[in-house]
Symmetry: C2
Subunit: 98 residues, 2 copies
């Protein structure tokens, strides 16, 4: 399992619209993707127009190939992308058990 | 509850030492802090010398005042800080239920 961590700045004033949009995008698009496991949304305290979301995938390829190369990604971005002030910063992370 | 997300670049070659050190720092220092709730460690797939850790606190002040202003923070940094290639980037986040 890997974690996608995405940080995205939303157009100021559109925070509530973005939260509604991503709720729809998760329930109608993301949860149907192969290898999708979990989603968490966080809003910045120091930067209230910035959100971090963490998505857990079964494998890196489930995200980078299976999801991003599919029509589901087009649908996902169509629902949430209009609220982005800039392209999201996305990286992938391996969980470390300590 | 709030989430502290810290991103830190480790001196290349010291990744395993850092993982051992942070395990000790969590078990001996962090878990004794008032308001500490949970810790997760992630290692970068694109940037394997970079780690993200997420710490959940009961409140923002439990971290920024209670922990950071205490001797526990000095002990925490003494254990893990020697492996840092640069100061960590730390921000606080509010969980959003969608």
């Amino acid at each position: 399992m890997i974690t996608e961590i995405a940080v995205v700045q939303i157009i100021p004033g559109q925070e509530q619209d973005f939260e509604k949009a991503i709720a729809i995008a998760v329930s109608t698009v993301l949860t149907t993707a192969a290898g999708y496991m979990n989603f968490n949304l966080h809003r910045g305290i120091e930067s209230p127009s910035t959100y971090t979301f963490l998505i857990q995938w079964r494998s890196l390829e489930d995200h980078t190939l299976g999801f991003r190369e599919s029509d589901l990604f087009v649908q996902w971005r169509a629902i949430i992308g209009k609220h982005f002030a800039a392209p999201p910063q996305v990286e992938h992370w391996e969980g470390i058990t300590i």
